[in-house]
Symmetry: C2
Subunit: 273 residues, 2 copies
DNA sequence: GGTTGACTCTCCGGCTACCGGAGGGTGGAA
DNA sequence: TTCCACCCTCCGGTAGCCGGAGAGTCAACC
């Protein structure tokens, strides 16, 4: 047996504010059992308490309302599980990320610049197996993992063991989404392969810094190199490159990783007096 | 030595979007080193990269901009540490909370109502030592811990070992902040004590449900009791009470905890046919 | 039957931390 | 000069609500 109650009472039963209940009604997420046509007063059924509490819990987990709606509206248990699992996974990732950031933050607040060795190099044009994609910043980790495994497989099947790398468009950094091209250098006469394209990377001068260790401080090296370039060089158009000299695919120990960041420049600057 | 760069370049150095940089300029969080008075073009100094990266990291941790500003503007290391520590603590709490919610969510999605025994009781008016406060929902845990320890100390010093409890105003639940009164019943002629006030709790009828175990599912018991009351009783004005029959202060094992939720009603309803 | 007071309604604006786009001015190279 | 990439400001929108204004409603009390 159930009974109907006013918004205020329902608010007390569910610990959702009246404003929130109005909002959920408006967007059709949790409509009252009935609405008085003359006064406009809402009446909720006590049977709706469970749904309301479910919604409240999901919102506590910061689940976006569209997803909440999906979950609440599906009766299919499997689909529910799936949506929920996906959300929890995202939260786990966020958490891991948080830990990383905290680590690097500590280093930043106890200052002491890591020395930055900038090297100038001319890199000739070369051909490579490439995978081109529009990638969102957040998803770059999994994307790289997938893509470099794929490139690695294609490469080893053909006896190629070059240092792979990637180019990142400016928008990738500034708009949090943009073109990324993962590449594995090959001989100029290399034959095409399934699933990857043949790309030609232009040659040019680069200011290059090596980032050693895990990626927590990566942006600092970027910033330092970029500052250096701004101070001593003329920048050239074209995307920034990274070369994965020692990568997660090579060794497990993050401390051993080495990434070269290559910033395109017009020419090698004259040494200052 | 430093150099100045345009927004676009600075954006590339810091991985903050141009829009974001504009915003930070507008709110005065990170003003460019100079602004061309005729064209309005911003110029940033490469020395600002570090600050920008610090801000970016803090924002990744969802730190609100006012706090970020505070942290960035203070040069005092101790104060920085303090702000940061406070923020991290909040995040840890949030995390713990998340775990709880996830646990209870699982239970909710695999349905099976926990049986709810509702009991009707008349509770006479009584006097108590009380601590009254405006409390925010989020902070209720620490508040209770503090307050009941205090009440406990005052009580034991006077040989009082009654079951303590608290009243929660409606606003506490519906607006996430409201008056809470923690109380420890005493004899009518009890003398005042330092740090606590003497309060008189009115008598009346209550519908009472026992919530057993940890507090993860607390809101469900609330909802179920409230629904029951809406279906079978006439509600009475006055705040809801909780009685901590077996509390965290008594035993460590959450499974042993017992909380009585007392919902004020007008009278004991006649049993239905 | 009128009045009170608690409750409810809708509508509008505001909050955070930006994003997207329109419409228009700038700067350096060809 | 003309191009094009870059930059400017201003306006509006986003999510998930909150706060308040102004007005209607409900039940109780006198």
């Amino acid at each position: 047996m159930t009974a109907t109650v006013t918004v205020g009472e329902f608010s007390r039963l569910t610990h959702l504010s009246v404003k929130t209940l109005h909002h959920y009604h408006e967007i059709g997420l949790l409509a009252p059992a009935s609405v008085d046509s003359s006064s406009g007063y809402r009446r909720y059924d006590t049977a709706q308490v469970d749904t309301a509490l479910l919604i409240r819990r999901l919102r506590e987990l910061r689940m976006p309302l569209p997803e909440v709606r999906q979950l609440v509206e599906t009766s299919d248990g499997t689909e529910r599980e799936e949506t929920l699992r996906a959300h929890l996974e995202r939260m786990e990732q966020e958490l891991a990320h948080t830990r990383e950031v905290v680590t690097s933050l500590r280093e930043m607040l106890t200052p002491g610049q890591p020395a930055l060795d900038v090297e100038y190099r001319f890199i000739p044009a070369f051909r490579a197996y490439g995978v081109r994609d529009q990638v969102e910043r957040e998803l770059i980790g999994p994307w790289c993992e997938r893509t470099f495994r794929q490139l690695g497989e294609v490469g080893t099947a053909r006896g190629i063991f070059a240092t792979s790398g990637a180019t990142y468009s400016d928008e990738f950094f500034t708009d949090d989404t943009g073109e990324v091209v993962a590449f594995l250098p090959v001989a100029p006469d290399q034959e095409p392969a399934d699933g990857v394209e043949l790309v030609d990377l232009p040659g040019g001068f680069f200011a290059i810094a090596v980032h050693a260790g895990p990626l927590t401080d990566f942006d600092r090296t970027y910033g330092a190199l970029g500052s250096h370039v701004a101070e001593h060089c003329e920048v050239a158009p074209g995307p920034i490159r990274e070369l994965y000299v020692v990568s997660p695919g090579d060794v497990d120990d993050p401390a051993a990783w080495r990434t070269e960041i290559c910033w395109p420049i017009q020419r090698i600057p004259a040494p200052k007096g």
